[in-house]
Amino acid sequence: MGHIAVIVRRELASYFATPLAYVFILIFLVLAGSLAFFVGNFFDRGQADLQPFFTFHPWLYLVLIPALAMRLWAEERKSGTIELLLTLPISMTEAVVGKFLASWAFSGIALALTMPFWITVNYLGHPDNGVILASYIASFLMAGAFLAIGACLSALTKNQVIAFVVTAAACFVFTVSGSPIVLGFIKGWAPEAVLSTVAGFSFLTHFNAIIRGVIDLRDAVFFLSVIAFFLYANAIIVDLKKAD
């Protein structure tokens, strides 16, 4: 476990060594705030909750998380440091998990900095803080799922831009797979079982259930399973592609 902590520290430090970290956090906060106020009518609704704030998280993540994930493996492969990392006495699991946890912790820091919203809404009224906490957890889990997909796909290429685009596309598919657009497309010809499976993979469905206050452990398990699956795939892809 010591190795994972060392890798997390190095990765986190490297986020903050470049302007990426500050740009990311700033844009995330500005967008999260303006979407909640201007599009979500945070004040005009006259309700003390953070639903208009959380509603936009999947869409924000869709754009921002691939930018966090794209460098994870693509950069290591491009600069050749992957050879250094994987010839140190650590296991592949430690390398994959350490890198993922660092990016997840970083997205957690960005999320934690939205705390003023929570303070504001508590100042203005009496929100259900249980739902808000659950929403924060859901948002964090969803960020983790996006990051796991992004880490996995960034191992496929040396080019960070390709990693970004492919990750954004994949995350989009996962996000909207429960929406009428996708389901309507499948409904005509696929059996019911396929339809419900595809719908079941929708990040949006799982996320929205939690932020509306329907707290079901299965939604958390869903996101954790997605993370586990993509990290496993990540390790396999790194092993296959590391020498290219």
Binding site: R9, R10, A13, S14, T81, E83, T87, L88, P89
Partner: protein, 323 residues
């Protein structure tokens, strides 16, 4: 680490490469390479670019999985117990990759922590590695901004940090200026008695300067193995005599060529002035014959030297026949 067993039959054998083979799809990159390196030996990997030197090193260090065969490092099999083997290896990958946004001390600290050193011990080891590779002047700069020579030294510091029994250095002096090359070679010579070292290079002078043994790899195969002297003996220059004579060189050359031990006479291709190179038949010693003839003919000899052989020759011959 204590639980690992050292090969009892060959206690000195610190690196043992056993029938290592690597396919990349249809391409056979490394073909059944076996070799052993003992403590105190510096083994030079020679070969043209793309011959399989780096691929072999990548397999020994556990970066690439062999298609078949294995390497055993101080008793730890790289395919069965990769982490134990990697602990014993200091590896400088080709091009000396280091994390560009880190400063050398931060980077070395990362490596020290991964290798299990903490606190004062980590600081001490980082200090030693920095001193050994003379990095003191660039400690505050991100590795990104360093010159090629300094980057290579950071990579070297990383490989030396844990004072490993086995060092594997892929082109350690590539891109360095002559002074830096000299420093790195001196460092390798200092480290050599306690360690088993493999370095790859395409500089033959480097083999002379640091290696106690050299292997030539061409097309993935091991085509020659021996001390630099043994390899040099396979050169056509081995025991050739370089002679500088005043007067018409064509007559001198013709007379020399008639000697029974002489294979051929050519103008010397070095730039030390006009001279003839008298090649010996089958590498036998001909200097006495040449000297006798010179005395008998009363030539004005300005210089006479026996060549020990040239690695370039051997390198070219063995790699050309293998191709």
């Amino acid at each position: 680490m204590a639980s690992s067993k050292i090969d009892a039959a060959r206690p000195d054998e610190m690196i043992s490469v056993r029938r290592l083979t690597k396919h990349f799809g249809p391409i056979l990159a490394v073909d059944d390479v076996s070799l052993a390196v003992k403590r105190g030996e510096v083994l030079g990997f020679l070969g043209p670019n793309g011959a399989g030197k780096s691929t072999t090193m990548k397999m020994i260090t556990g970066f690439l999985a062999p298609s078949s065969g294995t390497a055993v490092v101080c008793g730890a099999d790289i395919t069965e117990d990769p982490i134990a083997a990697k602990r014993r290896i200091g590896y400088l990958p080709e091009g000396a990759p280091c994390y560009p946004d880190m400063t050398p001390p931060a980077f070395l600290q990362f490596v020290a922590h991964i290798r299990g050193f903490r606190g004062a011990e980590a600081r001490e080891r980082i200090k030693t590695a920095i001193a050994r590779t003379a990095l003191e002047s660039v400690l505050a700069q991100p590795i990104d901004t360093l010159s090629k020579g300094f980057k290579r030294r950071v990579g070297l510091a990383q490989a030396l940090l844990h004072d490993p029994p086995v060092l594997i250095l892929d082109e350690p002096t590539d891109g360095l200026d002559p002074n830096q090359k000299h420093e790195v070679r001196k460092l390798i010579n200092v480290l050599a008695p306690e360690k088993a070292i493999i370095i790859s290079t395409h500089l033959l002078e480097e083999v002379d300067a640091v290696c106690s043994r050299a292997v030539v790899i061409a097309n993935g195969k091991l085509v020659a193995d021996g001390t630099p002297e043994e390899l040099a003996q396979r050169s056509r220059h081995h025991n050739a005599v370089r002679i500088e004579v005043a007067g018409p060189s064509s007559e001198v050359a013709a007379a020399l060529a008639r000697l029974p031990g002489v294979a051929s006479v050519e103008p010397a291709d070095d730039d030390e002035g006009d001279a003839l190179m008298v090649f010996a038949r089958d590498g036998r010693s001909i200097v006495a014959e040449v000297a006798d003839l010179a005395r008998a003919m009363r030539w004005e000899v300005a210089g006479l030297r026996v060549e020990r052989g040239r690695l370039d020759d051997v390198f070219r011959t063995v790699t050309a026949t293998a191709a």
